[in-house]
Each structure stands twice: as C-alpha cells, then as structure tokens.
C-alpha cells in the first residue's frame, strides 16, 4: 500500500495537519518527530509546493 498522496492536496489542509502533528493534537507515528523540525514559515511554502503538484 503506498503512502497517502500529498500531491494536489489543499495547502491549508497540509498546514493544519502539520500544526496538529507539531502540537501533538494529532496522533502520529513519525510525523510528530518530523513536524517539530520545521517552522510555520517553512511549512507554508512546503504545503504550497505539494498543492501545486499533480
């Protein structure tokens, strides 16, 4: 089973998910550990980039 695709997903949803991983609100296996390494200023363009992918 492949990983859930981020390409083309709404940027706001990706930002919200990363914030929830960062704060621990959303349970995770590895995304909490990763999200804590990135600032909101970094997450925004990353989300935008994924949203623009097909």
């Amino acid at each position: 089973m492949p990983l859930p695709r981020l390409a083309g997903r709404n940027a706001g949803d990706i930002v919200a998910a990363m914030e929830a991983f960062h704060s621990g609100v959303r349970p995770a296996t590895v995304m909490d550990r990763i999200a804590k390494g990135f600032s909101p200023e970094e997450i925004a363009p990353i989300a935008k980039w994924y949203a623009a992918q097909k």
Binding site: M1, P2, L3, T29, V30, R33, I34, K36, G37, F38, S39, E41, E42, P45, I46
Partner: protein, 425 residues
C-alpha cells in the same frame, strides 16, 4: 525551505560561498552547463533526476559501473525470507529516458585542474560541476584475514553489489539447523548505523521460523548502538535465547577471521560459525580519495549548504561519503541531499546564492514482519555544519501498541516504494 538574505547566507556559510558569489558566472562558456555525477545510488541518481527536473537544458551525465543497482534499505527482509532480492534491484533505463546520459563505466580518476573524469573505458568526460556520490568502500585492512577474497566466503552484503547479497542469502539457506550465524558490527561512522541490528533481527526471524535450533551472535566493535533499548526489548520479545549481542566491553569485537576453518577470533573468545556476515569498518568510496576530496578520516568534508568539497573546488560530495557535522548515513538522507545539491548547483551556475535548507532523515528498521522501529532527524546548517533542530526528531517510543509497530513496518515499505519509484521509475 528556509530562505535567507544574501548577507545572512554569506555570513553563515563563510568563505567557500563568498568566493563563489564573487564570481557568479565563473566562465561557463558552454550554452549547456555540463554536470557529471559519479555513483547511481540514492544520492547520485536523485541528484541527476532533480537537476533535469529543475533545468532540462543542463547536460547531465551519470557514471555508474553496475547495470543493476541493489538497494540496501529493507534488504534485511531478503535474509528474513520475507522479501525477494529482485524487489531490491533497479536498472537505469528510466533515468536514461529522462534525458540523462548514463555512462556504464567505473570512474577511474578525476583531474580537478582540467575538470575531467577519466572512465575505466579510457574515455574522459569534461565537467563544469562534478558531483561525487560514491557511497562507501569496505576497509579490507581492518580485520585480520578479511580481504576481498575472504569477503566472497564471509559476505558483508553492505554495498550495492548484488553478488554479495546473493552469497549471504545462499549461505543462510544452505546452512544446517543448529549452526551459528555470526554478524560483526563495525565502529561508527559507517553506513546505516541501525542496519547491522536490523539485519540480525531479520536473520533471527529466518532462523526462528526455518532453523529453530540455530543461534545468532552479534560481535560488536562498539559498546552501545543506536535505538539499543528498542532493539533489545524487541529481541527479548521475539528472539529470546536465539539472538545474543556481545560488545567490545566484553572483549567480543572481531579481531580476525579464518574463512577456511570458519572461525572468528575476538579479543577474548573464539567462535565456530556456520555463516559469517562480516561488516567491516568503512571509508568513502574509492574515487573520493583519488579525487582528493577525502581527508585523513577517509570521509569527505563538505559545505552543508552547497555540498561542495572543502578540499576541491567545483566538486560536490553527497550521500554516505560526505560529512558536515550531523549527517546521517541513510538512504533517506542521501536522496534528500541529492535534491538539495542539485538546487545549490543550479543556483550557483545561475549566479544566485544557494539557499540553506534543512536535511531530513527517517530510517526504518524491520525487526519482525509486522514490527518496525524508526529514527528521525532534522538538521540545519549552522557555522558550516549540520546540527539537530532543537526539539525535533528522535526514535520510536519505547512503549507502543502492536498496531504502532505494524504501522511503521507499512511505512517502511511505502517509503521504499515511493523513493525508488521517484529515483528509478
């Protein structure tokens, strides 16, 4: 990715960048800048794909000696009897179809002054920028009796040479029930620090399910290892009495091997083995030393923003061969480095300052078919070195329900499929 002002960049990365920024158009007379990449693994092949993706006008040549790449991540599953070696193997057809010139040859020498690479075929390839992604070279001078000939009898199966994996797999299948499998684990720095313990876990799984009277011993040249509690808790649960870890503190680091007598001597003991998997200490792949980018440690110091060698101009080093502070020697990090290096090179060639970015690594270890753990790190360049981003990363929790471990096992497989599809597909 973090963008910095030009001044911050220069202050941050120091002299190497300042020198480049002072000559933004450094004499690229050709209409198409020529970039040569040596090594078609996770780092080199990622870099080649990223370069073409960012700028299809670049002339990108990938030099790789092997037609078939054997990917080390998840290869432990092959020895566990739960994956086929074919699932680890990839070719370069799709990479060539993406407009990358694939030169099937070994890079024999680099002439930094002339900016050429000499191939084993005798051909010379000119470059404006050279990227070395040579991975690792086994040190055959470190363990008495363990040279290249002995490696055929007691395989390391630690490079991208498929024959090594086949040999170890064949030996495990051929061994009688009741034998001893000995794995030697090397000192750091080495490729994939959790790898020897993941492999031990998977071989223990194979023995438990197929040859249950057999034993496995890890002879470690260290006195502790990464995710030790997580591994040892899982071993206690899955492989009690079967898998034993012995360390240098108890004098059980490998000192010599006699492959004819099938005997390993440690400082204090000796082991009669049925199968030996000797993972010796390592240095950067051979071409690194030949190109003059490896230092006394055997590894290649680089600038963490540009990946340019601190020892040779216009040669960038990525993947396991490179070091700049905390850089994990994982396939995940290598693939990320390939992309970051590609972006830096395109910026430099275009006369723009390269932007500092974060380096992410997420490395899974399979302990049983539905049970994996992982270690995650996020790094950023500070004063010429990668350092951990405070509060980020870490290993899987010590206490977790079975579904959590099973989920990580699924993620390991999914990461491997996604990463290899992106690079080789």
């Amino acid at each position: 990715m973090e963008r910095k002002t030009r001044r911050q960049m220069l202050r941050h990365a120091g002299g190497a960048i300042a020198a480049l920024a002072a000559f933004p158009c450094f004499a690229i007379a050709q209409a198409r800048p020529r970039i040569v990449i040596v090594g078609g693994g996770f780092a080199g092949a990622s870099c080649a794909r990223a370069l073409r993706k960012i700028d299809s006008k670049l002339a990108v040549t990938l030099v790789e000696a092997r037609r078939t790449y054997t990917a080390p991540p998840l290869s432990a599953g092959v020895f566990g009897g739960i994956r086929n070696l074919a699932e680890q193997q990839f070719g370069y057809d799709k990479i060539a179809a993406a407009g990358i010139t694939v030169a099937m040859a070994r890079a024999a020498a680099v002439e930094p002054q002339a900016r050429t690479v000499t191939l084993s075929t005798g051909d010379k390839v000119s470059y404006d920028k050279l990227v070395l992604a040579p991975g690792i070279e086994m040190r055959f001078d470190a363990i008495s009796g363990y040279d290249e000939t002995a490696a055929a009898q007691a395989p390391h199966a630690w490079t991208t040479d498929g024959a090594q994996y086949e040999a170890l797999h064949r030996q495990l299948e051929a061994m009688d029930d009741g034998g001893l499998v000995a794995i030697s684990a090397p000192v750091d720095p080495a490729r994939c620090p959790p790898g020897p313990y993941e492999r031990a876990s998977m071989i223990a799984y194979y023995l438990k399910t197929r040859k249950p009277r057999s034993k496995l011993v890890i002879l470690d040249s260290k006195d502790s290892f990464i995710m030790q509690r997580l591994f040892q808790d899982a071993w206690q649960r899955f492989y009690p009495g079967l898998l034993e870890w012995k360390s240098i503190s108890s004098g059980d680091n490998i000192a010599s091997i006699d492959t004819a007598a099938k005997k390993i001597e440690t400082d204090f003991d000796s082991y009669q083995y049925a199968v030996a998997n000797v993972i010796p200490p390592q240095v950067a792949g051979k071409i690194a030393a030949a190109a003059g980018v490896a230092d006394r440690t055997g590894w290649c110091p680089i600038d963490p923003v540009t990946f340019e060698s601190l020892l040779q101009k216009d040669i960038h080093v990525i993947g396991d061969a490179a070091f700049a502070g905390a850089m994990p020697k994982s396939a995940f990090a290598a693939a990320v480095e390939g992309g970051l290096c590609a972006a830096a090179i395109v910026n430099i060639l275009g006369g723009r300052p390269p932007a500092a970015a974060k380096l992410l690594s997420n490395c899974y270890s399979l302990i049983a078919p539905d049970y994996a753990i992982s270690t995650t790190t996020v790094h950023q360049p500070v004063n010429g070195e990668y350092v951990d981003v405070a509060g980020s990363g870490g290993a899987s929790p010590l206490e977790a329900p079975p579904q959590f471990r099973a989920q990580e096992a699924k993620f390991a497989d999914a990461w491997f499929r996604s990463a290899t599809a992106e690079i080789f597909g």
